[in-house]
Structures are given as structure tokens and as C-alpha cells.
Symmetry: C2
Subunit: 442 residues, 2 copies
């Protein structure tokens, strides 16, 4: 589909052609088209959408566009959209709107929809409950396969997935799951209770959504039921929402590891003040640590006055120590995030990092000894720098690999123990090592 | 399922009880059980698995365990496993085995399986072809819905997904797709050609797998067809494989951004030499840059000798500049990776970062002026440090945000322009600014 043609059709008021053009288009592509239109054009395009596609397209629009459209829609139009949205999309949408818009949206929702939205809004934003939908196909054990298909045909149109159906008893306690694949391969007269699987993976409403994502990854799922504390089925989570969770969690880790407070807001539409706020805290904390590190240099002023040549190697030592530490912390943080490394691997990690850092430290140290000897002609200065670098690399990789584990042990987020903090700590340690060794050798 | 009981059942040779215990277990959980067993116990457990579950469990085992089991299996047993594996799993498995094992595996595959495996092995490891499977349900336009269901029932058992079916013509050119949901809602006598969707999203075999993952995320897909240059359907990609791709690509970015060469090998089983090799290159390059930065200090030796108090602020300036730059580069790199930022946003990004850095720089700079004035009693020194920090922060955020864009423009990987390189560049720039301003003011 070409962007030009949609704008052209709107501008030339070819409404009939526009509708035909939209009939077969993909909802995700259509949502993108809105970005190129002004407010009035957006309203025209939205009203031209096939009625059953409007809610789907709406759910994929950016928050700004949604708010704009709502301002232009009549109450009956709004009511149609809200009731037609998947419940989890409706909740996401309400969470990003200002209060007055939310009020109007909920007023125009059917009573049933409003009740369900209000219930979903109560779950904590990082919980399984917040990403689930209540639109699933439920079956009963005593149904036959034929009756099950009849039910899927009757209610399936409005459900997020029909491919996994959930078998509940009279009190809505989850008894088992059955896939459409299993139902297709079974006989029409078989009882659902006889073909369903009772070995059911499920999440609790309060479970962390990151843990839920890990279950999807481990078991290659496309949907997972969510139960309350009494084992009653309250919703399901689908794989598309899990992929979004994973993307958000990864972005969060990238941000934390660069000493930025995570944010869900898109960069380009965020205010300058807002962005600055997310960055200033850690910069300030780390700057104060940097000032303390500077104090170490002042402490060794006497050594420096006797040997000003030592100063020139400070940046190299600080940079290399920081980089070596950041490498280790990144490997360990990521390893824990994807479930490859655990607290119980601590000793194996330490032993491995010690050997790796010894190896890396020797190469880098030797390089410096050779270079410094050649340039300065002073073998003792060269050895002092080489040994300091070797020790700093070992220190850096030990701190870099152990701090994320320590954070995990303290139930804090390991991603906070990344490059920025490691660098600051290693800088201070490295300088102390450097000046001590220099005083000793020279 | 408890680990203890499986080991106990094996040790006490209760083979019948073991088999019963395994009958209802989850393949992913069973694969995990192998980690706690020795070689002989692994063979016993594997032979006790229900025949139709063995290949599935096998595909989720770590490479080491797979190789061990193959050594213990007879040719007919091996043949059964290989032919029963999903083709994409078989290819992954063959790619991680040594040559002699591969030879034996292929020898025991059926001719048809061998041919398909060899074909899939030819695709580049980062391409759509390398993650696709050839096991999908294909239908014809002229079939009725009833005939389609009959075909799904007949061939569906062995296919990775049955929920999206692919409609091809006599030459296997992809004409459309139809979901089981659509088929269930259609009438038995409808023609597949009349209910299928012809607006088909698909990938080409040579497409980058990261681009494929982006399509899955944008369109919330659970499967995507792959066609060759002639439009012939050659395979499908399923969402579980895409989630793995996303995890690997994210890990790769984390590694690159910490100046480590990416690796697919798990940390704990990788050799020390191998790990050191992945880390030494960038450490060496960045160390040499650090040595050059040291040269800048030597260049200003005269200034330093007159004002030794300047030295104490070097770590604070270097750390803060590095951190400020790393924040910006991380935000831009991640924004481009998730498709939120593009090259065309360059000017908006620059303008935003300039304002953010001015704001952040003023706060940090003022803090330093106040602190230094208080501690040293020298207002001129305090102002020199404050102004230098302010300038360094602006420099850092400009370099940090623009270099990833430059890399993208040069068709290089933006993730390489992350904290380590930014820090080195900002260190050098920051020191020059610092000494110039200090010479000027003091």
C-alpha cells in the first residue's frame, strides 16, 4: 500500500475508492498511515475504516492520535470502539489517557466491559494480571469434542486466541487445557475431559511479568492461563504481549546499565526536562564518587611531585580498568537475565574470571612495560605501570563479576551493578594500587 | 515433578514406575532432568521416554548431552530420533555437533530428511532461511473447507503449527494464507480460495533474521511464510524461534556495547582462553587510546606544575564525561534497535541532546563550582572546573548521540559506538577542554 494514494484519496474526497482501498489492508499498516495525516484527515480515514477493523486499528495507534480521535468521535462511535477492543488493549489505552478522557471512555463502555476494565486496572503494572486478557475460550470436561467446536465457532470470533481452550468446572477452577490441534485429531464423540491435558502450566495474577515471559521462552508457549489464589481461571496471557514485555525489560536493562532511570515514554516526544531528570540522579552520584577518587590523587601528591611521569598513565589505567570491569559485569548481568547463570554459580564464575583476568592482564601489562620502557627509557617506571595495570585488571574483573551476584543475593537488580558504578569503584581501587606500587618500586 | 524421584527410580531400577512417571511429563522439564544425571543414567532415562516424546525432549537438551547420548544410541534408535525431529531443530543440532557425529547422524536419516536438512544447512546463519522449518500445512485454493480440515487432520500431527495454513498452486507459488480460526468459522462447503487472505506477509530466504523478528513484533504474528526469489513457498518461521533470535540479538548488543566480541557459547562451558580472546581485542584498542589521552596530560605538564590542584579533578571529569556520553549513546542505540529512532531523526536528536546536556551540565557544573570554592577557597579554580565540566557534558552527549547515527549511516553496527569508545573519545576531548579553560582563566 502506498502512502500517497491514501492521502490523495482523502484530499480528493474519493470516499468510495478510499473505502475499497481500505477493505483488504492490514490493521498494523493502517495504524502507521495515521502518522502522515493531520487531525481532520485522521478523522476521515478512521471513519472510512471497515466497521469490524476500526477497533483493531485503533489499538495500534500512538497515544497522541488516540486522544485526538476520541475528541472528534461521537458518543455512539466511541462506545462501539471501546466495546470492540480486546480488553487488554482497552486497559493499556485507558492507562495512557488523561483523566477527563478516561471518564468519557468508561461512560461509553457497556456495563460488562466497564466492570472488566475496572478489574484489570487493579493489577500492579509489572504483574501477570496487568498483561492478561479475559477473552479466552472456556470449555467443560463433560462436553464432547463436537460440542467444543460448536462453542469455539460461537464465541471464538471475539477471543484473542482460540487455539488453546481452557477447561473449567462449575466454580471456574481450571482443570485442564486442550488445543484445537488435539480437538481436530480427536473423535467428535470423545469427551473433552478425556483428551485434555491436566499437566497445566499457569501463572498467578500477582506473578512478575518478567517471570511469566521466562516461562513462555522455556516452554515455547503461545498462551498461558492466569489463575487467582483459589485456582480460578481469571484470564490468559498471549505471546504477542510477552514479546512486548521482553522488549520493554531489555530496554530497561540497557537503560539501567547506562545509569539512566528507565522510562516507557518514547524519546522523541518526551520533554527535555523529563529526559534530563531521568539522567541527572546517577550522574550526580557518580560525579561525587569521582570527586572522592580525585581525593586519592591528592593524598599521593608527594609521590606525584617526585615523579610527574606517573600522571600520564592515569587515563590509560582508569579507562582499561573500567572497560575490563564492564565486560565482566555485562556478561554476568546478561547471563542472569536470560537464566543461564545463577547465584549458585558464584564460585565457578569467580574462578573463571580470575583466570581470564590474569591472562588478559598479562597481555595488556606486558604491552605497557614494553611501550613505556621504549618511550621513557626507565625500566622501573615501565614495570610499575605494567604491574599496576595487571593488578587493576584482576581487581576490575573480580569486582565486575561479583557485584552483580551480590546485588542478586541482596534481592536488588543486578543491572544496576553495571559499567558506571563498576568504573567508579575500579578507578578508586586502581589508583590506590598504582600509587602504592609506584611508591614501592620507585 | 521432583528431581529426586527420577534419579531414585533409575537407581533402584524401577523401570516400569519410571515409564509411568514419564508418561505425562513436560518435554522441557524432562530435558532439564538430564543435567543432574551421569552418562549411563542419561541413557537409561532417554530410553525410558515415551517413543513419541523422545525426539522432542532430545531437541531441548544441551549440545554436550546430545553428543553423549548419540554415542550410546544404536543406529536404528538414532535413525528414529533424527527422522522425528522438527527439521529446524535437526539443523540446529547438526550445526553444533563435530564432523564425525554429523556423518553418523546424516547416515541414519531417511533420504527425504537428509535432503531437506542439507538444503536448510545452506542458508547463511543470520538469514530467514536458517531459522525456518519446512514442516507446514499446505492447502490448495480449490479445496473445500471440509477437505482442508481432512488434510490438516491427516498431516497436522507432524507440523510445527497447524493454525496458519498456506495455500499454494501447482508450482508451489504462495497464493494466500488461511487460519484455522477462519476455517472453523466458514461453511464446510466453502472453497479455501474464497475464504483465504491474499494480503500475505512473507519473508525471503535471504532476509536478515533480525528484520524477520521485527515483522513478527510489528504484526503480532505467530508464524510467517518464507518464499524464494520465484515466490515459491519454501518454509515457515514460528514465533518460538523468533523469540530465541530476539534474545540472541539482544545479548549480542549487550556484548558489543561492553566491547566484547559476541559469542553464542554458554559462559560456564566456554574455555578461559576462548573468553579472554573475545575480550582482549577491544581492551587493547581502547588501552592504546588511553595511552594517547595520557599524552594530552603530558602536553600540558607546564600548566599542571604551576597548578597541581588541577590533577585532583581529572577522575571526576573523565568519569562524568564518560557516563554522560554513555547515557546518550545507549538511548540512541536502543532506540534504533527497536525501530523507534531513525537516521532521519538526526537533527531532532541533536537538538534534544544539546538542550538536555545544557540542563544537566549546568546542574553538575554549579555543584562543582560550589563544592570546589568551599573546599579550596579559590573561586577562579572552582569556576574553571565548573565550566570545564559543563562543556565536557555537552561534548559527551553530542558525541554519544551522534556517533551511533554516524555508524548507522556508514552501514556499520551502531552498538559498537557505545560506552567504551565514547568514554575514550570524551576523555581526550574533556581533558583538552579542561586544560585550555584552566590556562585561560587561571
Amino acid at each position: 500500500m502506498e502512502t500517497v494514494s491514501i492521502i490523495q484519496l482523502i484530499e480528493s474526497k474519493q470516499h468510495k475508492e478510499l473505502k475499497e482501498h481500505l477493505a483488504d489492508a492490514n490493521a498494523f499498516d493502517l495504524a502507521e498511515e495515521f502518522e502522515n495525516l493531520n487531525r481532520e484527515q485522521q478523522a476521515i480515514l478512521f471513519r472510512s475504516l471497515p466497521k469490524d477493523a476500526a477497533a483493531n486499528v485503533f489499538s495500534h495507534l500512538p497515544a497522541e492520535t488516540k486522544e485526538n480521535l476520541i475528541g472528534l468521535l461521537t458518543d455512539p462511535e466511541l462506545s462501539h470502539i471501546v466495546n470492540d477492543l480486546f480488553l487488554d488493549d482497552a486497559v493499556d489505552f485507558i492507562e495512557e489517557m488523561p483523566a477527563n478522557v478516561v471518564k468519557r471512555v468508561l461512560k461509553n463502555a457497556s456495563e460488562d466491559t466497564r466492570k472488566q476494565i475496572n478489574q484489570l486496572l487493579q493489577y500492579h503494572e509489572d504483574s501477570a494480571g496487568s498483561i492478561m486478557t479475559t477473552e479466552y475460550v472456556d470449555l467443560r470436561e463433560e462436553m464432547t469434542v463436537e460440542e467444543a467446536f460448536a462453542r469455539i465457532r460461537r464465541v471464538g470470533m471475539d477471543k484473542e486466541t482460540i487455539y488453546t481452550c481452557y477447561v473449567v468446572d462449575g466454580k471456574r477452577v481450571l482443570d485442564g487445557v486442550v488445543t484445537v490441534r488435539t480437538l481436530l485429531l480427536a473423535n467428535a464423540a470423545d469427551r473433552v475431559g478425556d483428551v485434555m491435558s491436566t499437566n497445566v502450566l499457569c501463572a498467578a495474577t500477582g506473578d512478575d511479568r518478567e517471570a511469566v515471559a521466562a516461562i513462555f521462552q522455556k516452554y515455547d508457549l503461545i498462551a498461558l492461563p492466569v489463575v487467582d489464589t483459589g485456582g480460578h481461571l481469571v484470564g490468559i496471557i498471549t505471546v504477542d504481549d510477552v514479546m512486548e514485555v521482553l522488549e520493554e525489560e531489555n530496554t530497561e536493562d540497557f537503560y539501567k546499565m547506562a545509569a539512566i532511570e528507565p522510562s516507557d515514554d518514547p524519546y522523541l516526544t518526551s520533554g527535555v526536562l523529563e529526559i534530563a531528570k531521568k539522567r541527572i540522579f546517577w550522574l550526580l552520584v557518580l560525579m561525587i564518587s569521582g570527586i572522592c577518587t580525585g581525593g586519592i590523587i591528592t593524598h599521593y601528591e608527594e609521590v606525584l611531585q617526585n615523579l610527574p611521569a606517573l600522571i600520564a598513565s592515569i587515563p590509560m589505567l582508569m579507562d582499561t580498568g573500567g572497560n575490563a570491569g564492564a565486560q565482566s559485569s555485562t556478561v554476568i548481568i546478561r547471563g542472569m537475565a536470560i537464566g543461564e547463570l545463577h547465584l549458585s554459580d558464584g564460585l565457578r564464575i569467580l574462578w573463571k574470571e580470575l583466570r581470564v583476568s590474569a591472562l588478559v592482564g598479562i597481555v595488556l601489562g606486558m604491552f605497557n612495560v614494553a611501550y613505556k620502557w621504549l618511550v621513557s627509557g626507565d625500566p622501573r617506571l615501565a614495570v610499575a605501570i605494567g604491574v599496576s595495570l595487571f593488578t587493576t585488571v584482576i581487581l576490575a574483573k573480580t569486582i565486575g563479576s561479583m557485584l552483580p551476584l551480590l546485588a542478586k543475593w541482596l534481592k536488588a537488580d543486578p543491572a544496576l551493578m553495571a559499567a558506571p558504578i563498576i568504573t567508579t569503584l575500579v578507578d578508586a581501587g586502581g589508583l590506590i594500587v598504582y600509587f602504592s606500587i609506584a611508591s614501592l618500586i620507585l
